[in-house]
Amino acid sequence: MKIRVQTQAFDLGAEVGAMSKGRTDIGAITSFVGLARDLNEGSGVRAMTLEHYPGMTEKALAALVEEANARWTLLDVTVIHRVGRLLPGDPIVLVAVASQHRGEAFAACEFIMDYLKTRAPFWKKEETAEGERWVDARASDDAAAARWAPPRFETGPD
């Protein structure tokens, strides 16, 4: 498991390559890269700055990965989140999940992203033609995270 918060760019190929290097038991690696877009809520975005809560961030990301490990049989997980100033087109976040079979890798990767969006202490500030603005949390992200609760192994007869 690798969890990192950093200002510099990450290398998707190298990160995924490191997960499978020397192993022959991995059948599937699903990875997600989130990128900075030049448009959000109808306004042009020239740049964004990502702030975080050092200490809690790493703890929150580790908790997400631990919860994913409890729900699915995973062979490795990598989460890298950038902070600082980013331009449109820049990669922001990488989540990669390795497992024996693809169903688990897809589910766990999407689960980690959905929970990261609502539980990890990162905040985005955008620079637009009208000035700077803090990005508001989106109801669609809460809805995406809510799909995963309660954990499958605690699901009752409902």
Partner: protein, 83 residues
């Protein structure tokens, strides 16, 4: 008791402060919020009932009725928007 209180993102900017050390005579996160609201101005506005903010105690998000241990690191911040 003493608390270390951190502010992030929009709240850090509005309050003009990233961190402070506070004397706190109450017991819960809700009582700390009430003490900060009583400062008036931006504090009253941003921490009013119905405003969306989160409270973390020792780096775990908690509900407002959570008890605050002495020397706790309390963070108050807007809903997160990472990824």
């Amino acid at each position: 008791m003493k608390l270390r209180v951190l502010y992030f993102a929009r709240l850090r900017e509005r309050f003009g402060m990233a961190e402070e050390t506070l004397d706190f005579a109450g017991a819960t996160a809700a009582e700390l919020i009430a003490q900060l609201q009583a400062r008036g101005g931006m504090w009253a506005e941003e921490l009013a009932a119905g405003r969306a903010f989160r409270v973390a105690v020792n780096q775990d998000i908690v509900a407002l009725d959570a008890a605050l241990p002495d020397q706790a690191e309390v963070a108050i911040f807007p809903p997160v928007t990472g990824g």
